[in-house]
Structures are given as C-alpha cells and as structure tokens.
C-alpha cells in the first residue's frame, strides 16, 4: 500500500514536471506589429500600422495564433482611417482579424541555429471571410525571445471587401502585409 502511494506521488511529480515543461514552450507577444501597404505610385500612400497585435505560439505543438483588433490600425490620414473602419473592414461589425496556423516541418526542441526559415500554413479570418495563407517566416532567437518576421499578400476581394470605383486606381490590387513579432517565453 505504501509503495503504491509513493509510486503515485512520484507519478504525480513527474506529470507535474512534464506539464510544466510543455507549458514553458509557450511564447507570447502582446504588442506585435502588422503593417499593411496598398499604395499606388503617384497617389497618397495607403498604409496603416497596428502595434497592438497579440500572438501566442506553442512551440511544442508548432501552433501559432495571432489577433489584430481592426481599430488598432493607424493611418497617417485620419479620413483614410475612418473610411477603412466604416466602409471597408466594417470594424464595428467585424472588430478583429484572427490568424490560426502551424509551423511546418519545424522541430523547436532540436533547433540550434540562431535563425531559421519556417513555412507557416494557416487561415486568416477577417470581415467575416476566411482565406488560406501560406508564407515563409524568419525566426530569430535571442535568449528567451523569438523574433518572427515575414510578409504575405492578400487582395480586398479575398475578404469580400469592395473598393468603390472612384478610388479603385488609388488602392493597390495586391495588399502587402508585413509581420514583426517579439515572442517571449511564458
């Protein structure tokens, strides 16, 4: 009886340790940056930055998730910001953009180098529409932080966003999205 009890205790301790180490593979950024650029030459730049994007990366499962609040996108031109929120992404109805994805063929526990190119596959949901995204990102390690950088392109049509004819030639067909996250171990 005593032995089973002590065995049980040992098991519990082991289980506690493993769950703890699995937890420590979690990396979080609460203030990541997304820049999107849809500028056409000769016209006023159509560019916005969101510096309040959050990301959670579970390195033991190769899962990443990111969330951007649409109201957090800041434009240089206040009228453009207003149009973005009210007419294009309709941020009152669809307040956030969510990405959920996986790091492909990446083994974090065996990662030795200071930086790595990793393919990310996932789905971006915004304005009530979903779009599959596949893009390489660069991971750079610095102590307990991992920097994730990359970019991909989308179109307004991917998310059922209609651009009025009058401004159609002032907004690029392909919108470039730049990512920059500093993930810290949690």
């Amino acid at each position: 009886m005593k032995t089973t009890k002590s065995l049980f205790t040992i098991l519990l301790i082991v289980a506690g340790f493993t769950s703890k180490s699995a937890l420590s593979q979690k990396y979080i950024d609460t203030q990541g940056a997304i820049v999107f650029e849809a500028s056409e030459e000769l016209f006023e730049p159509v560019k916005a930055t969101n510096k309040t994007v959050s990301m959670v990366a579970d390195m033991s499962k190769n899962e990443i998730a990111a969330l951007a609040l649409m109201k957090g996108f800041r434009f240089k031109n206040s009228l453009m910001e207003e149009h973005f929120n009210e007419n294009y992404v309709e941020s009152e109805t669809y307040p956030k953009a969510i990405f959920k994805g996986k790091l492909k063929d990446f083994n974090f526990s065996q990662w030795q180098e200071s930086s790595a190119m990793v393919l990310v596959e996932g789905t971006l949901k915004l304005h009530g529409e979903e779009k599959a995204i596949e893009t390489p990102v660069t991971l750079t390690r610095d102590g307990d932080t991992i920097r994730l950088q990359g970019s991909f392109s989308v179109t307004p049509a991917d998310f059922a966003i209609e651009i009025p004819k009058i401004v159609r030639n002032k907004i690029a067909k392909e919108i470039k999205v730049l990512l920059d996250f500093n993930l810290t171990k949690k």
Binding site: T30, K51, T52, S54, V56, L67, K71, G72, S78, L79
Partner: protein, 149 residues
Amino acid sequence: MTKMELQNTTTEDVKMKKKTKVLIFISLAAVITAFAVYQYTFNSSHRDIASEAAFTSITAQSMHQEFSSDEASASQNYLDQVIAITGVVSEKTKESLTLDNLVYVVMSQPLPKEIEVGTEWSIKGRCIGYDGLLEMVKIDQATTITKTD
C-alpha cells in the same frame, strides 16, 4: 478738358478701382475657403484622445466582465470611446501596462516612473476591443489620470 470732365473721369476711375478690389477680395476669399474645406475633409488631424473627456468611468473588472459575457453589446457600448478605467497594475513594459490582468493598456507616451506594479491607477484611453487570445480588453493612446489608492 474742362474742369467738369476731369472730375467725372476721376470718380469713374475710383469706381473701377473699387470694383477690382471687391473682385480680388471675393476670389481670394473663395480660394481660402476652398483650401480650408479641402484641408478639413482630406487632411484633418486625428482625434486627440488625451484632450477628450472620458465618456464613462469603469473598473477593469466590470469592463472585462461586460466584454467576456456579451462581446457584441459591449463593443457597441465601448468601441472607439474614450473611457477612464481603474485597476491595480499587474504588469508593465516601457509603454504599456495591464490592469488586474484583465485590461491591456498601451500608453501614448512612455510609462511614467511612478507607476508601479501592485498600485492602483486610473487611466484614460480609447477602447479598441476585446482580445480573445490574451482574454483582455485592449485600450490604446492612453494617458494616466490619477493614482487611486
């Protein structure tokens, strides 16, 4: 030229000059108004959250409670509004802080040194929504108002 004629031409000249002056003045006014309207519609400055009065005052707990129980209606109430929020600082970085681990606040300026973890503060900022990943309400362009404990 008689004395009479001379007088006539001068009054005529004066009249003409007056007309041109009025014309110049009107066109100038038109140009200025057009420019002002253009500036106002296309280049108006951003909202100055710091100088706006808070729409309401609330604790971090009740704000989070409202968002986590009914996000849609809370969004309708608070999204893009300037709100004063009170709570205990649970974490801080150079320019952000969390209140009671429930509200994430990004300041418009680097965080003042007096703000320490464990002390209660009231901040004012713009609500940009509920972050389901962090399970926190997010505030940006915040300025501190007062220490409340």
